[in-house]
């Protein structure tokens, strides 16, 4: 039944996204590099990350823990704290009303504060930790609302908070509760309502459903899709759960060792994963609506970012590696909207006798 709900909404959304895609891009990330500064050598948690986000689109970012996806979240919203430092690249945000584009990396704190929540908001992994334990829920809505709308009175802000809670199915009188008085699912939905308080164009979500049970997870995702359809915000959705993204996201970026190794639509990634790592991820969970196939994991462990491997960072774990993978770093090359950073797909790099365990063989 749950699957049914998801597939319905999923279907609806495909159409809407296509329609909104025409409005253009909301975010253009180019060459974003984030390093953790230490007394020794810096640790590169995000390296040369480049992607664009279309208006109203859901972009999923998947990767194992330590792949740099959480670092990407804080860098995108410029919430990272020392020792994390953005050392290169740009994050250009294009407001809906046709205002001037802003590079979030270099924007002044004042300009950034004006953008926050009205244009760019965030949902964090654990709502329990993300809500101030000593403030009533309504007050945490009200201070965001009133910061960005000076004319809003206190009572009006609380009334708006109650309305917002109602949009995620929480009764409005809950605004007077403290976070610890709510159930885990309610807290998570409340923090989604909070993220939408000022009508943002972009909501960044950091594994917003890992802390709740599976049933609640489905409900929350359905609510996100529904709200996205009515409000039209774009989403960057970060998770370690590729299966979830395949159902939710319009496009998916796969991260490995701080780099995007593959980026394409959900169906492209599911039907035709080009990077060996993506294929490994896809084959490590059971499909929801397909005949069962043999599950295989990915051998080895993610690389230590303090001492990244030379060449392609995946080569020590890659079954399809060939000569030169340990010395040459493949670039992200786009072919027909589907981008991959793997030398198997680079005609100039590719070994002349095509290996038997070739690219899309697993179909």
């Amino acid at each position: 039944m749950v699957t049914q709900i998801m597939s319905d909404t999923d279907h609806d959304d495909a159409g809407t996204t296509a329609a909104r895609g025409a409005d253009g891009d909301v975010l253009r990330v180019t060459g974003l590099t984030v390093e953790y500064v230490t007394d020794g050598d810096p640790v590169r948690a995000c390296a040369d990350v480049t992607f664009t986000l279309r208006r109203g689109e859901i972009l999923g970012v998947a990767g194992e823990s330590g792949s740099g996806k959480s670092t990407l979240i804080t860098a995108l919203t410029r919430l990272q704290r020392p020792p994390a430092v953005t050392t290169a690249g740009s994050i250009v945000f294009q407001p809906r009303d046709g205002g001037a584009a802003v590079d979030l990396v270099t924007a002044s704190p004042r300009a950034l504060r004006a953008l926050r929540w009205t244009s760019l908001s965030i949902v964090l992994q654990s709502a329990m930790d993300a809500l101030n334990p000593v403030m009533r829920l309504g007050a945490q809505f009200a201070d965001a609302l009133r910061t960005h709308d000076r004319s809003l009175g206190n009572d009006a802000a609380w009334a708006r908070a109650a309305e917002l809670l109602a949009t995620v199915g929480i009764s409005g009188d809950r605004a007077r509760s403290y976070p610890h008085e709510l159930s885990g699912g309610m807290r998570q939905r409340a923090s989604i309502a909070l993220a939408l308080a000022c009508g943002p164009e972009l909501v960044v979500m950091d594994e917003p459903t890992t802390a709740v049970d599976v049933v609640m997870q489905r409900q929350i995702l359905a609510q996100v899709l529904r709200l996205r359809r009515t409000l039209g915000f774009a989403v960057v959705f970060v998770t370690h759960d590729l299966s979830l993204l395949l159902e939710l996201a319009d496009r998916i970026a796969i991260m490995y060792a701080g780099r995007i190794v593959e980026l394409g639509t959900a169906s492209e990634l599911y039907d035709d994963p080009r990077h060996p790592y993506t294929r490994g991820l896809r084959d490590s969970f059971p499909p929801l609506r397909a005949p069962l196939r043999r599950l295989t994991g990915i051998p080895g462990t993610p690389p230590d970012l303090r001492r990244p491997p030379s060449g392609c960072p995946f080569h020590p774990r890659c079954a399809a590696r060939f000569e030169g993978c340990d010395t040459h770093l493949p670039e992200l090359v786009t072919k027909g909207g589907h981008a991959v950073a793997c030398r198997l797909h680079d005609p100039t790099q590719r070994p002349q006798p095509a290996p038997g365990t070739s690219t899309g063989g697993a179909r």
């Binding site: 590099t33 500064v37 020792p83 430092v85 953005t86 050392t87 290169a88 270099t106």
Partner: protein
């Protein structure tokens, strides 16, 4: 763990300072006895209340005693009380905190009530009263009294830690297997608390040194013994302030402050090791990284 602990400058500086004073306490009497003119108890009537000079590096007291010699001798008295009271206090803290955290339930209720009682009581006045009834006591008794009343904060820490260790799977599993309580307590739970106990002991030493000084300052001490506290008390009694004899009371107080600061530094280092969130990156390092990259195109 050990190498990590010694890496930080705070721990290294702290331990060196403490080591220096411990050495002074151990070797001090031998030093003052073998160097002529350094007898802490000799009254030189030709040198009364003299400021620091080449002959008396830290000057002399109103009684013509050498302040440097007294400071060296005082290290022994102060640290003796500090260590003995810390041993007693730590032992009591373990005795109360460990069973409270391990057994929980009613045992915990009573023991926790006991330690909370001692936490909310003003301990210094309590020690004063008890010591006041035993006027003219030795350093041993003073250390005993300080240790006996100074265990409550440590017991609270031990209780909390023992509780969390006792609820870990391996202890629960061994409990289910019928392992006797005393074995679990002393062979499984206690070893996990070593770090906390060490930190507690260190604070106990400092607390003891400070409390001894406070007691001595109020006139409760061994009349024959020399400690940093008795030095300050003698200075106060002889109106050293009104005579401008700063060299009399500054060195002993400075020594107490140095030992206590050293202990605080060590505890800082231990805290940072136990709680990685406290580790900070120097801002200058971050700024440099920003300047070389993004900052430049801003």
């Amino acid at each position: 763990m050990r190498t990590g602990l010694l890496k930080g400058w705070k721990v290294r500086v702290g331990l060196s300072v403490i080591g220096f004073f411990v050495l002074l306490a151990v070797l001090g009497p031998w030093l003052t006895a073998s160097v002529p003119g350094l007898d802490p108890r000799a009254n030189d009537l030709t040198a009364i209340g003299l400021p620091p000079s080449a002959e008396h590096w830290l000057g002399t007291t109103q009684f013509g005693q050498d302040v440097l010699a007294q400071t060296i001798e005082g290290a022994r008295g102060s640290l003796f009380v500090g260590f003995l009271s810390a041993v007693i206090g730590t032992a009591l803290a373990i005795l109360v905190g460990l069973p409270a955290g391990y057994f929980g339930g009613r045992t915990d209720s009573w023991l926790n009530f006991l330690s909370n009682l001692f936490i909310v009581m003003p301990v210094l006045p309590l020690i004063l009263i008890v010591a006041g009834y035993m006027q003219g006591t030795g350093l041993w008794v003073i250390a005993l009294i300080i240790g006996f009343f100074g265990w409550s904060g440590g017991a609270r820490t031990i209780r909390a830690q023992a509780m969390s260790v006792s609820n870990r799977d391996f202890v629960l599993a061994m409990r289910t297997l019928g392992e006797p309580h005393h074995r679990l307590l002393f062979h499984e739970v206690l070893p996990h608390l070593t770090g906390w106990i060490a930190a507690m002991f260190l604070s106990g030493v400092i607390g003891g040194v400070m409390a001894e000084a406070g007691l001595a300052f109020l006139g409760i001490s061994d009349s024959g013994a020399i400690s940093w506290g008795t030095m300050i008390q003698a200075a106060q009694q002889q109106s050293a302030v009104l005579r401008g004899m700063w060299w009399w009371f500054v060195p002993p107080g400075l020594c107490i402050a140095l030992v206590a600061t050293a202990a605080t530094l060590v505890n800082f280092g231990v805290d940072e090791l136990a709680n990685p969130k406290l580790r900070t990156v120097r801002r200058s390092v971050v700024r440099r990284a920003q300047q070389t990259s993004v900052g430049s195109d801003a």
